[in-house]
């Protein structure tokens, strides 16, 4: 008897686990940016269109297991072909995929084409921290939260000085690789708040602790922060003319090479 109940008990553990962990406040992250909202909408459309294809085989399978059990003692059917049916289950999924592709493409365009930028931030990946530069203000600093004004279009130019990293802040809908020798782009517009992310591309032993913190502050606070930054001697501003033209690899110390 217990053996029969075991699968159900195990299944019951799944919702239990979801309940035990922090409440899932959102389906697919907590979107705060226009892009993240669009991603979530795309996800919902896709979910709605594909869920039937996820459930239908399971339901048919369960029904077949119940209905065609040999214990019912009927003779097996002999059909093994039905061309119209086969055409239907080839064409219908294909059409659904086209239907998914359309909203996906418009969201992709939104991700790709940022509106006019209010602030350009250069993001440089290091093992195992992030360096941020604000060329307009001659500010550069590393291993501290990125501070940006709220509700402004922030565009990011990303690169890396060593291995590939990936700048990922889930609630912004942004995940963009920072490749050595290349510059990639991303953008976001977020309300005030503190947002967390982390490096998403395996970059070495301490990859797991390469966190990202973003402080999105009001414009006044941002001005204040800028003044403090520009006034303090501690932050040595990088030469903005050379910014983003880093020599990616100091080759002198090649091990084993």
């Amino acid at each position: 008897m217990f053996k029969r109940k075991l699968p159900w008990l195990a299944l019951a553990l799944v919702p239990a686990a979801v309940y035990a962990s922090e409440p899932l406040t959102s389906w697919l992250f907590n979107p705060v940016t226009p892009v993240a909202h669009d991603v979530r909408e795309t996800f919902k459309i896709m979910l709605g269109l594909t869920l039937p294809f996820l459930l239908l085989p399971q339901i048919l399978l369960a029904y077949a297991i119940w209905k065609f059990n040999e214990k019912r003692g009927h003779q097996p059917a002999t059909f093994h072909e039905n061309v119209p049916l086969e055409i239907v289950w080839t064409v219908v999924p294909a059409l659904v995929l086209v239907a998914i592709a359309i909203p996906a493409y418009s969201t992709l365009k939104k991700i790709e084409v940022p509106p006019k930028s209010d602030l350009v931030v250069e993001v440089i990946g290091h093992q195992f921290f992030w360096e941020y530069r604000l060329p307009r203000y001659d500010i550069g600093y590393a291993n501290e939260p990125l501070v940006v004004p709220a509700d402004k279009i922030i565009t990011l130019n990303l690169t890396s000085v060593d291995v590939i990293h990936s700048w990922w802040v889930p609630s912004f809908g942004v995940k963009q690789d920072a490749n050595p020798g290349r510059i990639t782009h991303a953008w976001f517009k977020a309300p005030e708040g503190h947002y967390k992310g982390q490096c998403a591309e395996l970059c070495g032993p301490l990859h797991g602790e390469m966190w990202i913190d973003v402080e999105v502050v009001s414009e006044q606070e941002f001005e204040k922060w800028l003044e403090e930054r520009m006034g303090s001697a501690a932050s040595a501003p990088p030469d903005s003319a050379h910014s983003m033209m880093l020599s990616p690899e100091p080759e002198s110390e090649v091990v084993n090479g």
Partner: protein, 523 residues
């Protein structure tokens, strides 16, 4: 009878018989499965608590890398090859593979590969730690200067050579050695699956070999294929790597598809539904499989047009896959279902693989993929495909063809427990990963945010079920092998010849040397 005097070990070691080589592949895969499973246990132990603490960050990356490498190159691919070697010549009515000695060589290449792979844990700096993808420049001389990565490259070369030689052997065998009367459209679906698979290996694997050779040259001979300072590009490596490694996931599942078709038809007591559609679907998967690789690279900065193309091709591959799923369901429809352990594994595979397939469509959708890429959602998806798909179909195949191979049944009662352990354990471990991934848990990290701790503990608990299932499976194998044969099984223990039996059921169990007394003729 000089043969009798040889010890069993010596007989197998010097064998060129496709059946004995097949069995050696299967034993090899099982042994390596224990190693890979052990590493998986280490991962789940480390992730029991958000702050980690069982292994060092360096060792954690090595474990993750080698768990994947072992499971892919030493477990799933060789296990598939094991069944393929055993069954394909039997199913086409041949006496052996086309090149028996080459066949033995393909297998024996795996032994040094496995030794080098495991030994790499014990060299200076430990095993390769750049993930099984070994992205550049993380595994370049500058950032991983120790020999681990070199040993990983040799492992890839040896296993790749083994696959390529095996693939050539399969293609020549299937093209030239079919029994009289067996046209291509009369070949069993399992043979079709292997033919497609062999072509995929032949097209894809050399590209991977080229890519890792370029890494080796960058590491030791001063070239700069992937070094930006030398005009190279790390993203190029990703293109080359995924050109093989995406098709590789189909290489790991297509023979499983073939096996599922046979099992479902056998225990529904019906001919497989839509044979022609199934053949076209497998061939379609084989072709489309090569046009989707860049979907692993949606965050690298590819242009939107390229991403849109690869997204569409990726989603399109769901169509032939869906044809297979629906055809299996139609095969069951109106049948008389007998729930043997093999059938349970086949049905379990269908239900799990549908989840893995649909989550694959989600991942093909670029904006969604950008969010889910390199998160635990991807870990969930790939394990649904590789465990839920490949491993479940391999276990089903084991229960289905073990009587043919040994003349004895595997214990069905024990088999039921094995099945439920695997099904429940796999679901507990990997289902929740979809949620943690969607909420932002990154993969390949030895620590994570505390809010995911509860779910991770359930996942780690699920591992225990799979471990138990694995132990019971091994035990049932040992038990069956040691049990003396009292009454030899008949040729067709599952009674499939009256429905759609393929030729392996027309010879004795186990088959004699050279397979058939007289070569069968296919009407």
């Amino acid at each position: 009878m000089a043969e009798k005097k040889q010890s069993l070990l010596l007989r197998y070691m010097s064998s060129t018989d496709h059946k004995e080589i097949g069995i050696m592949y299967l034993i090899f895969a099982l042994v390596m499965g224990i190693v890979g499973g052990f590493l998986a246990g280490m991962i789940r132990m480390q992730l029991w608590e958000a702050s980690g603490g069982v292994v060092s960050p360096e060792l954690y990356n090595q474990i993750v890398t080698m768990h994947a490498t072992i499971m892919i190159f030493f477990v799933i691919i060789p296990a598939m090859a094991g069944f393929g070697n055993y069954l394909v010549p039997l199913m086409i009515g041949a006496r052996d593979m086309a090149f028996p000695k080459l066949n033995a060589f393909s297998f024996w290449l795996l032994i040094p590969a496995a030794i080098i792979g495991i030994a790499s844990f014990f060299v200076e700096g430990g095993a390769a730690a750049g993930g099984w993808t070994s992205y550049q420049p993380l595994t370049s001389a500058q950032y991983s200067g120790t020999p681990g990565v070199d040993m990983w490259i040799i492992v890839v070369h040896l296993t790749g050579a083994s696959s390529i030689l095996g693939a050539i052997n399969f293609i020549v065998t299937i093209f030239n050695m079919r029994a009289p009367g067996m046209g291509f459209m009369k070949m069993p679906l399992y043979v079709w699956a292997w033919l497609t698979n062999a072509f995929m290996i032949l097209v894809g694997t050399p590209v991977l070999a080229g890519a890792v050779t370029m890494v080796l040259f960058d590491r030791h001979f001063g070239t700069g294929f992937f070094r930006p300072s030398e005009g190279g590009d790390p993203v190029l490596y990703q293109h080359l790597f995924w050109f093989y490694s995406h098709p590789a996931v189909y290489i790991m599942i297509v023979p499983g598809f073939g096996a599922i078709s046979h099992i479902v038809a056998a225990f529904s007591r019906k001919k497989v539904f839509g044979y022609h559609g199934m053949v076209y679907a497998v061939a379609g998967i084989g072709v489309l499989g090569f046009m989707v690789w860049a979907h692993h690279m949606f965050t690298t900065g590819l242009s939107p047009a390229v991403r849109a193309f690869f997204a569409f091709m990726t989603m399109l591959i769901a169509v032939p896959t869906g044809v297979k799923i629906f055809s299996w369901l139609a095969t069951m429809w109106g049948g008389t279902l007998k729930f043997t352990v093999a059938m349970k594994f086949a049905l379990g595979m269908i239900s799990l693989f549908v989840i893995g397939g649909i989550s694959g469509v989600w991942l093909g959708n670029v904006p969604v993929d950008i969010q889910l890429h390199d998160s635990y959602f991807v870990v969930a998806h790939l394990h649904y495909v590789l465990f839920g798909g490949s491993v479940m179909s391999l276990l089903g195949a084991a229960y289905f063809w073990f009587p043919k191979m040994s003349g004895k049944y595997l214990d069905e009662k024990l088999g039921n427990i094995v099945f439920w352990c695997m099904y429940i354990g796999m679901s507990m471990t990997f289902l929740l990963m979809h949620w943690t991934g969607m909420e932002g848990m990154a993969r390949r990290t030895y620590v994570y945010r505390p809010q995911f701790e509860g779910m991770n503990q359930i996942m780690s608990f699920g591992y225990v079920f799979m471990l138990l299932g694995g132990i019971l499976f091994c035990w049932s194998l040992v038990k069956a092998i040691r049990k003396p044969v009292t009454t030899p099984l008949n040729d067709d223990p599952w009674n499939v010849n009256d429905i759609q039996g393929s030729l392996e059921w027309k010879t004795s169990s186990p088959p004699p040397k050279e397979n058939f007394k007289t070569i069968p003729v296919v009407p």
